[in-house]
Amino acid sequence: MEGKVILSSSDGQVFEVDMKVAMISQTLSNMLKDTEDTGSETAPIKLANVSSRIFNLIIEYGKYHVEAQKSDTSEPTADLKKRVRELVADDKDTLFQLMIAANFLHIQSLLDLSYQIVAEDIAACKDQQMIRQKYNIENDYSPEEEEEVLKLHNIFE
């Protein structure tokens, strides 16, 4: 499929996106196929839950993704993951929003990469205290419970 597709974000901004880039979203791809069948006019598709800020990132990612598919990078996934990390610039909120948007647009590769990034960040934490700090999670164990849990799960010295 060639050409452009017009999309609008939740805050009303209109984007003209390369068809190839839009097609990485399973949701959009299905929708555009329907459009082709019916031959209806192209009008902006409204993405009610994706802000323009996040949508910009998704378009950026889409371009990388299309590029990566064309080129013979030895480690396309590692490369793309680096790109996603650059896009979210270590901001958790951005990453989670990107994740939600990727989920709803059905961009599996972006979803996997963002899960991977969160998991890596958690694994990079030295201990549970550091994870709590990083993600602002309240420790809801009572001291006794915590001791119990520590005893049960702290199997690696």
Partner: protein
């Protein structure tokens, strides 16, 4: 003129709060955690612990972790278990407080039987097994008659563990137990008449085929567990050159991907000697021709056919002309899966006898009509000399002369019942780390992913050879000093999913 609008019920207004993500998404994130980080994450908060300990999460989890596990008694006779994680490059202690508490219940003869499916298997008494998953502290005691028997744990259908109980007297007896309706029952059993003594305590599983080492004559025996539960002896694999000359304790079998590796030791001087003999035996050498009464053209290297399988035993075929004149070119037996009656394999195993003079200082160019050779051949020993340090003709193993040789036994691509040999790697002494050169005989080995690990005498030091990349690596020292000569060293795949039969949790 908006044509369509895509909305979703799940909006995210979490302000960077991970707990506001949908549950399904959290499970998917957690599914990508590393093994160790699952533990620290469980300690973060109740919700995380709930998700990370739930059966639905654990059963969907796909982390293939492989550790090198060393388990044995330390100098105070306490059971210890250390695991080495190659990705994290560190040793970790797996606490074994799951074992019966020695203060409350002292078990004198507690011994380790096997490791498999993420479980450790101990023998508690002659009728009781103790099985535990050290990761979730679940355990069970199983009543099975263990008199003179060994038990292995293997993965059966539906990923459920089977217990393989075997003994080798008087026949090779073999029973498979599985867990149904709250008890362990025999699923199938099998007895096999064999003259080879099967080393029941060592078993390797590969693609549902179980392999045992057989000693005197040295061989490898395999059985397939079929879906219906029948056991089918697949192959009695004739061994490649040199393995048959080894004592069963001198080689190790490990499972590597979809093949079996046999790791043996070779002695450079012994090899030279074999090569010399091989070179000497050519049909055009008159005194060693096909009609030579002493040799009868029998290839000295390729005998060793299992007497059970119709091979001609050394003592009976001194002038068997039917087998005469086997060319020396057959020495590269890359494909050793020949039928039992194959003439190529038949015949005498002319191993080097005791009458050989020590090789030390011997000129490598033994003349073709060396009377010594004639003498050897005339007095083919009935008992194969062991390549041990006390081998009289070799004058003991000298350090820096022994190397490692690895053969691969892989399933034939066309006939899945056939397993073929080929030499996988040969490491001359000079390519081995200095530390390994001295005492190769006592080393055990285990294969963890791409790493072939060799332990030192007391398990404190381990060398690993990367089979894919071909380099040696010395693992950092493990802090436990094992008391036993040979602590159990195996590859261990930790399992988080809870087995139904492991009912109890150790407090």
């Amino acid at each position: 003129m908006e044509r369509k609008s895509i909305t979703t019920v799940e909006g995210y207004t979490g302000q960077g709060d991970i707990s506001k993500l949908p549950q399904a998404m959290k499970e998917l994130i957690f599914g990508k955690l590393t093994f160790q980080s699952i533990w620290s994450s469980r300690m973060v908060c109740k919700e995380w612990n709930f998700i990370l300990s739930s059966q639905s999460f654990l059963s969907s989890l796909f982390i293939r972790n492989l550790w090198l596990l060393i388990c044995g008694q330390d100098e105070y006779r306490n059971w210890c278990c250390m695991v080495y994680c190659f990705s994290a490059q560190k040793w970790m202690t797996l606490p074994l407080f799951i074992l019966p508490n020695p203060e409350r219940e002292y078990i004198r003869d507690l011994s380790m039987l096997s490791i498999g499916q993420g479980l450790l298997l101990f023998r508690k008494s002659s009728s009781q097994l103790f099985v535990c998953n050290p990761l979730d502290r679940s355990y069970a005691e199983i009543e099975i008659d263990l008199t003179e028997k060994f038990v292995h744990i293997v993965e059966g259908e539906n990923k459920e563990p089977y217990l393989v109980v075997c003994s080798n007297s008087p026949k090779f007896n073999f029973q498979i137990y599985h867990y149904v309706e709250d008890s362990w029952r025999i699923k199938c059993q099998f007895a096999w008449e064999t003259r080879s003594r099967i080393s029941c305590h060592e078993m390797v599983e590969c693609n549902g085929v179980l392999f045992w080492k057989g000693a005197s004559p040295t061989t490898i025996i395999s059985f397939k567990i079929q879906d219906e539960g029948f056991i089918n002896p697949v192959t009695v694999a004739p061994l490649p050159r040199n393995v048959e000359d080894m004592h069963a304790n001198d080689f190790s079998m490990v499972s590597y991907g979809s093949s079996i590796l046999v790791v043996g030791i070779f002695d450079e001087r012994y090899e030279q000697l074999l090569d010399m003999i091989e070179r000497s035996i050519r049909p055009n050498v008159p005194w060693l021709g096909g009609t030579h009464p002493a040799l009868g053209g029998i290839h000295p290297l390729h005998g060793g056919i299992h007497p059970l399988y119709g091979g001609i035993h050394a003592s009976t075929s001194h002038n068997n002309r039917a087998l005469g004149g086997i060319p020396a070119s057959s020495s590269h037996m890359n494909n050793m899966m020949l039928g039992p009656m194959n003439p190529w394999l038949g015949g005498i195993h002319a191993s080097i006898g005791r009458s050989l003079p020590p090789l030390v200082g011997t000129d490598t160019s033994i003349p073709h009509n060396n009377p010594i050779l004639g003498e050897i051949n005339a007095s083919i020993p009935h008992k194969k000399p062991r390549l041990g340090r006390t081998h009289p003709s070799l004058g003991g193993i000298e350090p820096n002369k022994t190397g490692i040789v690895i053969w691969e036994l892989a399933q034939d691509e066309e006939d899945k019942l056939v397993w073929n040999w080929k030499e996988f790697a040969r490491m001359p002494p000079q390519s081995l780390p200095q530390y390994l050169r001295n005492d190769l005989w006592y080393r055990k080995c285990a294969c963890v992913g791409d790493y072939l690990c060799f332990s030192s005498l007391f398990g404190g030091e381990v060398f690993a050879y990367n089979l894919k990349e071909g380099f040696w690596q010395r693992l950092p020292p493990c802090k436990i000093h094992f008391f036993e000569r040979e602590p159990m060293m195996m590859s261990f795949e930790p399992k988080l999913n809870h087995y139904q039969f492991l009912g109890k949790l150790r407090e």
